[in-house]
């Protein structure tokens, strides 16, 4: 693997740079090239910090370089590069000298090697700092054209960092956004830009796609769902009559569909890392996360101006605190995995949130992975560490809480009745604790007997505890045994005078106690799902909290209690190594952008940052979203790394097109639907994915960025599942609401999963088929329990932002799609439907094709499928009834305090009402045999890939 960006950059540097002459020019060469190279590649191990110095070699001065390190040989032999270990190490091909720097990805390029060589050959002069500065002043202007420009930012950790030069091309995303003129010669602006590139590559575009393929592309692209056979049938003649009008009408229809917002939300949630649980040791439910998910769907459906969408997510609570929608929107800031347990240092956990949110804002809106600047000034981009902490300081008064937020009329509140199952579980846990409490009280009596002690005082405490228990209405359980102990402890009775905690419990009971207690704790989070609260933030001081094991509320003393965080540059990113103080701010390389400064008051910081991010003058924001939207249609972006517009990210293949799209977006009030319309009505969008001159494309456009064809892409995991459900007619198209639980692989559903102190609850599918067959967007996303059928088709894990889905083919995909129960169930339902909706065998097969692939079978396909159908009938004999989820599952584990096994039964009352899908036993062999044809259609490349 080579670092393509870096090579490009250095090649650009070298081009036109006359080879420096040895001798007098060597001083200039040192100042301009070699000194920065030594700093970049050598000094971290051979310089500044003597404690970190490797091999005794110090490369900060000429004398030390000539003296060398522990090897006893000089590192540099002036005038003789081929005898200089510094040069030989850098070449990486010398047997005696270890390749340096150690990381291959940081190796010297051939130009850099040439500079090093020429400098040594020229006598290895080493002008001092003053002389270097003199040379820089004298020659700086002459270098600028070749070496690039400096960027004015806030101070870096070293002055050299600020003096760094960036080739103009590397700063493309930081340049002010101006709408480029559209090249002449094309009817559609997008095509005009694309045509320029094609002409440059001497490629002709592929012909237009067939109508069916085009409608399928539009439907999946804009709604994530296939077109119905009726829509295909209506589109074909319209397209034949007037392709442009037909496409425009289809685009309008799809943009108006409520499923459009779902599709866009799926993309957005990949970027922001949506999940319904918090990850790490407890993986607690985030009961209200779904409201943020639905907010995103609503925002896209309503074509919320993108700048407002940004503002709401960063600072909705500050902008409009009484509006539940705005409060819910700040769920964005909470999307990263996070928890604080008693096992963890609170300050470390707090820092984890701050780092997460800083980086997330950078990646999501600005395509700047800011974590690169957490420990040091950015190695490639004009982002000093100071900026990282300035941006972090914006969040120094941002605290996590589940805030009150009334349900809106447009929120889907169906299914809240499932809460009774959780209440049932809660009652079970309380009963278990009650039983164990009685057991401990009995054991306590025995303890006094065994010890020969007088239980009078204890008995009095127990009586008091029982009275207290009745008088207090506590939600959680507190048994008389534990309360009695607290009473005596408070009365300063010596601890050995009364029974210890959990007295006399067996390992089995020990385990049961923990399971019930932790189970109650977990339910607090789950029950939050049906309450009018939002996963959100508030402004205030940082409360002194050691662990978080229940949903948090805004404390009354938010402005008074706790620490008012003063953000500092953290040395090495370590919260216990604070350095210089910083004030809240944004990226200094871009300046204020005409927005107000970020205040250092407790309130108002995020609002100011949001204004800055969403400013039309911010050159990154509009480019970033335009690039993402392009990728959402074409499967690949214009600039290769949608989360990274820095030097190490891919540069845009069509920079003018990207700028035109971004400027158009801003010009049209940040309307994303307008942008979709522009893109989807272009000829580039409507091209075939197969090119008649494949060889030419492969040769002149090996990276596949020319847009000579529409890139073929595999459907995402969610599209595959939704498309099968749509074809079989089972899809429930309801929009929004609490997460549903489709049937996942039963062994995974019941797989015991350790969380802190207990097991997480089993996955119990929803009782009714319609509840299970909602769009995949709505399936409960548990960080610790990915659905294997989704994961295997590259659904990204929700820990990192996903800028682009992987679509790698791996063998277990076959197991899932060809052997998995879900595909078989969908195939059976499709077969059943097709038989119902047709009159003869050929018509039935044709209906299967229409529903699954949106087209008629060819004669050969029809014959093959009919033959297969008939042939499978005798083989389809053994029919099985639908499996049902169990009503309870036995859990076995090693009890952590005793190392002994214990077991308990987890009851799954929600499974009692389960209504299975259509099962093989419900239909005749003829239907089962046809289901095999359907299964093959679902597994075919035509179904899984979008042309």
């Amino acid at each position: 693997m080579t670092p393509p960006r870096l090579l490009l950059l250095l090649a650009a540097l070298a081009a036109g740079a006359p080879a420096a002459e040895p001798g007098a020019d060597a001083e200039e060469l040192f100042t301009r090239r070699v000194a920065p190279l030594l700093r970049e590649k050598c000094l971290s191990c051979h310089g500044q910090d003597p404690a970190k110095r490797k091999g005794g070699l110090d490369l900060r001065t000429r004398a030390e370089a000539l003296r060398g390190g522990d090897s006893g040989q000089p590192a540099v032999v002036a005038g003789r590069p081929d005898e200089s270990p510094l040069y030989l190490s850098a070449r990486r091909d010398h047997g005696d000298w270890e390749a340096m720097p150690p990381k291959e990805s940081e190796a010297f390029t051939s130009d850099q090697l040439d500079w090093l060589r020429e400098w040594i050959a020229g006598g290895a002069p080493w002008p001092d700092a003053a002389r270097q500065e003199e040379i820089r002043r004298a020659r700086g202007a002459a270098w600028a054209g070749e070496d690039g420009v400096t960027v004015k930012t806030s101070p870096g950790l070293s002055p050299e960092w600020n003096a760094r030069r960036y080739p103009q091309a590397d700063l493309w995303a930081f340049q002010p956004l101006r709408k480029p003129a559209v090249p002449a010669g094309s009817a559609h602006p997008v095509d005009a830009f694309v045509a320029e590139k094609l002409a440059a590559l001497e490629l002709s575009p592929a012909p237009p796609a067939e109508a069916g393929a085009l409608l399928r592309r539009l439907s999946f692209g804009l709604t994530g769902l296939p077109p119905s056979p009726e829509e295909v049938a209506a589109f074909a003649p319209a397209h034949a009559a007037d392709p442009r009008a037909a496409v425009a009408a289809a685009v309008d229809r799809l943009l108006a569909s409520p499923h459009h917002g779902e599709r866009m939300a799926q993309h957005w949630l990949d970027v922001v890392r949506y999940a319904d649980t918090a990850g790490f040791a407890n993986d607690y439910d985030r009961g209200n996360a779904w409201r943020y998910r639905d907010y995103v769907v609503r925002a896209f459906n309503a074509d919320r101006p993108f700048d407002r969408f940004i503002r709401e997510q960063i600072a909705g609570d500050e902008l409009d605190p009484e509006n539940p929608e705005a409060v819910v929107a700040t769920g964005f800031l909470r999307m990263g995995p996070w928890e604080l347990t008693g096992m963890e240092v609170a300050k470390v956990a707090r820092q984890r949130f701050l780092d997460d949110v800083t980086n997330s804002v950078g990646e999501t809106f600005l395509a700047q992975p800011l974590q690169c600047a957490r420990c040091h000034d950015h190695k490639f981009d004009p982002i000093p560490t100071r900026d990282y902490y300035a941006l972090q300081a914006v969040f120094a008064t941002t605290q996590l809480a589940e805030r009150p937020a009334a349900f809106l009329p447009q929120e889907n509140r169906a299914g809240f009745a499932e809460r009774t199952h959780l209440e049932q579980r809660r009652a079970d846990h309380l009963a278990a604790l009650q039983r164990l409490d009685e057991r401990m009280l009995a054991n306590a009596a025995a303890w006094f007997r065994d010890q020969g002690r007088d239980p009078a005082r204890w008995d009095a405490a127990v009586a008091q505890a029982r009275a207290q228990e009745r008088s207090k209405k506590r939600r959680e359980f507190e048994g008389a045994f534990a309360t009695a102990r607290s009473i005596l402890l408070r009365a300063q009775v010596p601890e050995d005078a009364f029974p210890p905690k959990l007295v006399g419990l067996t390992p089995q009971e020990y385990g049961e106690e923990r399971v019930a207690r932790k189970g109650l704790e977990r339910l607090r989070w789950e029950l939050e799902r049906y309450e009018p609260f939002a996963l959100a933030v508030y402004n205030g001081r940082t409360p002194d909290v050691k662990s978080v094991n229940a949903p948090g509320r805004i404390p009354a003393a938010r402005l008074e209690a706790g620490e008012l965080e003063q953000t500092c540059i953290l040395t090495g990113g370590d919260p216990f190594s604070p350095g210089e103080r910083v004030v809240p701010g944004a990226l200094s390389a871009l300046g204020a952008l005409g927005t107000g400064p970020v205040p250092d008051t407790i309130d108002g910081r995020r609002r100011a940052l949001a204004d800055w991010v969403a400013s039309p003058a911010n050159p990154l924001t509009a480019r970033v979203i335009a690039n993402r939207v392009w990728q959402w249609h074409f499967g690949r972006p214009l600039a290769a790394n949608p989360n990274n517009f820095g030097v190490t990210g891919g540069k845009p293949s069509h920079p003018a097109l990207l700028d035109w799209l971004a400027a158009t977006l801003v010009e049209h009030g940040w309307s994303l639907k307008h942008l979709h319309r522009v893109i989807a009505t272009s000829a580039a969008y409507a091209r075939s994915s197969a090119h008649p001159d494949r060889a030419a494309v492969a040769e002149r456009d090996p990276a596949g960025v020319s847009l000579a064809v529409f890139p073929l892409r595999r459907l995402s995991a969610e599209e595959l599942r939704d498309a099968m459900l749509a074809a079989s007619g089972e899809l429930n198209r309801a929009v929004g609401g609490i997460p549903n639980r489709p049937e996942i692989h039963p062994e995974v559903a019941l797989q015991p999963r350790q969380v802190m102190g207990t097991f997480a609850a089993a996955w119990v599918p929803n009782a009714m088929p319609a509840e299970r067959h909602r769009r995949s967007l709505y399936a409960l996303r548990v960080r610790g329990l990915p659905d294997p059928a989704m994961e295997v088709f590259n659904q990204p894990g929700p820990d990192f932002s996903c800028e682009r889905r992987d679509a790698a083919t791996i063998t277990p995909q076959v197991f899932s799609l060809f052997n998995g129960a879900a595909s078989h169930a969908r195939a059976l339902a499709l077969a059943h439907r097709a038989l119902r909706e047709s009159t003869d065998d050929a018509g039935t097969v044709a209906r299967c094709f229409a529903l699954a692939l949106g087209r008629e079978p060819t004669a050969a396909e029809l014959a093959a499928c009919l033959e297969h159908w008939r042939g499978q009938i005798p083989l389809a004999g053994e029919a099985t009834p639908a499996p049902r989820p169990p009503l309870e599952v036995r859990r076995e584990a090693v009890e952590e305090n005793t190392g002994e096994r214990f077991a308990f039964t987890e009851r799954l009352p929600a499974a009692a009402d389960f209504q299975p899908d259509l099962a093989p036993a419900d239909v005749p062999p003829r239907t089962r045999a046809l289901a095999d044809v359907c299964l093959v259609l679902f597994n075919g490349n035509e179904f899984t890939h979008l042309e």
């Binding site: 693997m1 670092p3 990381k103 291959e104 990805s105 790490f280 040791a281 347990t341 096992m343 963890e344 240092v345 300050k347 690169c372 905690k501 050691k546 662990s547 989360n643 990274n644 197969a690 692989h745 062994e747 797989q751 015991p752 999963r753 350790q754 969380v755 610790g784 329990l785 990915p786 294997p788 295997v792 990192f800 992987d806 790698a808 083919t809 063998t811 995909q813 197991f815 060809f818 052997n819 998995g820 129960a821 078989h824 093959a864 297969h868 042939g871 499978q872 083989l875 099985t880 076995e892 090693v894 952590e896 305090n897 190392g899 002994e900 095999d932 093959v936 490349n941 899984t944 890939h945």
Partner: protein, 476 residues
């Protein structure tokens, strides 16, 4: 329980087909036939799992990683601290601001309830209850210098398994498979044998992170179907499935004709045939009935408390024998906050014989030289504890000290490297962070951490995160 039933849920396809002859695979697969198959396929293979040359010549070709999840106590296993006898129940005061709630309240030093002895000719320190492991003590290299950055289970597990405390990065097995490929294209290159219940942090402990998904750890499940959906659902016979595959191939061929040269389509078509081969091969690998009685006895199969982990160890050997590159076994939980005598006592009884058997069995088959065996947890434990639940003594999490041991190709067997302080609170000699351990493990497998990189998120990422050094003291 915990059995690797060869065919439970993974019904083999009994009807022989033409592909059985093509690929030479039957239901019971001997290693001779297998070696021949490897040799035959080795030359012509390509693809992401094709074997690749290491960066340097190395003895170890495969790794068996025994992950004792929960944090085994070094003080009660391999790192005796006589000073704790003297300090027993004396109050322990901890300095420092990096305290979690776990460290609050009054704390006391706790002596080890286990007696120690010197094992083997090398005189390795070992608690007496490691009765079987003592027999292979001279094959082990103990390391007492490793430190982790996290005091909490999932973050420490993530760091030990992926280098990154916060999860989401590729597991070490994923990196090794990415670097070396696999010698067997019909099995996953990186296999995980988890406990029935997954550890804290779940499947991310063996994920592929930003590496291609093909490198992620495939858990062979301890109960039920070893690989999900390896076999079609009940009622779908081999013949029926084969006919479906044939129709699929026919329809796909028609589609491909319109998309010549589309690699993704061709790869999908090939993956169905590969899946079919895996479907045939995996049940045979998992069938431990083929092992002779003496071997089964050696690993402690068929009786408590060794059966469960014995099966994992034996299966690990069979997988490595068949060319699987990296096998990670989980056992736990070793998180003994209370009553360490009982808790660690039970845990050691469950793993002692199986692990000793694994080392001995690898050795007698000549596989130990080419296999790196690693035993570790995510951290060690403290010399002190708070009083909980009365008089039972346990220990809390300790990121500053732990014992790791290694055996096999390239390690300095028969030595103990590094040391902890008088009470075992902190490593003081040959101290290295986890990243250096990772760099060393890669080195032992012939891989250079600085060359084993993957470009993602704007930089070249590597297992050690930002680079590290080989712990030379651990090398033979």
């Amino acid at each position: 329980m915990n059995a690797y039933f060869p065919c439970a849920g993974a019904r083999a396809l009994h009807a022989p087909t033409r592909r059985d002859f093509v690929y030479g695979l039957g239901a019971s697969l001997g290693s001779v036939a297998f070696s021949a198959l490897l040799a035959q396929e080795a030359g012509a293979r390509s693809g992401p799992l094709a074997p690749r040359a290491p960066h340097r010549a190395a003895k170890a070709k495969a790794c068996i990683f025994l992950m004792m999840e929960g944090g085994p106590s070094h003080l009660d296993t391999f790192d005796p601290k006589p000073a704790l006898e003297r300090l027993h129940l004396k109050e322990f005061v901890r300095e420092g601001r990096e305290k979690s709630a776990m460290e609050s309240g009054k704390r006391y030093f706790v002596r080890s309830p286990f007696r120690f002895r010197r094992a083997g000719a090398s005189g390795a320190d070992m608690a007496e209850n490691w009765a079987h492991l003592a027999g292979v003590a001279d094959d082990l290299c103990f390391y007492r210098g490793c430190q982790v950055d996290s005091v909490n289970h999932p973050t420490a597990m993530y760091q030990m398994n992926t280098g990154n405390r916060f999860g989401g990065d590729p597991g070490i097995g994923a990196w090794v498979t990415y670097g070396l490929g696999s010698l067997n294209q019909n099995l996953p290159g990186f296999v995980v044998l988890p406990e029935v219940s997954y550890p804290q942090g779940g499947a991310s402990n063996w994920g592929s992170g930003y590496l291609p998904a093909v490198y992620q750890g495939t858990p062979l499940r301890a109960k039920g179907a070893p690989i999900l959906d390896l076999a079609p659902p009940p009622g779908v016979s081999a013949e029926r499935q084969r006919r479906n595959l044939d129709l699929l191939a026919r329809l796909n061929a028609g589609h491909a004709a319109h998309h010549p040269g589309a690699d993704a389509l061709a790869a999908r078509m090939e993956s169905y045939e590969l899946a079919y081969r895996m479907q045939l091969e995996v049940p045979g690998v998992l069938d431990l009935q083929g092992e002779d009685a003496a071997t089964r006895e050696l690993y402690g199969l068929g009786r408590e408390p060794t059966d469960a982990f014995g099966r994992k160890c034996l299966l690990a050997r069979r997988l490595v024998e068949r060319g699987v590159r990296f096998v990670q076994l989980y056992h736990g939980t070793w998180d003994s906050h209370d009553d360490i005598e009982r808790a660690h006592g039970n845990l050691v009884r469950a793993v002692d014989q199986p692990i000793a058997a694994l080392i001995a069995d690898l050795k007698r088959r000549g596989l130990l030289e080419s296999t790196l065996v690693v035993w570790c947890g995510e951290f060690g434990r403290t010399p002190d504890n708070g009083v909980r639940g009365g008089t039972a003594y346990g220990r809390d999490h300790n990121p500053k000290a732990m014992t790791i041991w290694m055996a096999g190709g390239g390690v300095k067997a028969g030595h103990t490297i590094g040391a902890t302080d008088e009470t075992g609170m902190e490593a003081v000699a040959c101290v290295h962070p986890v990243r250096d351990l990772h760099v060393t493990l890669l080195h032992l497998l012939g891989l250079d951490d600085n060359r084993l990189t993957y470009y993602h998120g704007g930089r070249f990422k590597q297992l050690s995160q930002f680079g590290g050094t080989v712990i030379r003291e651990l090398l033979a």
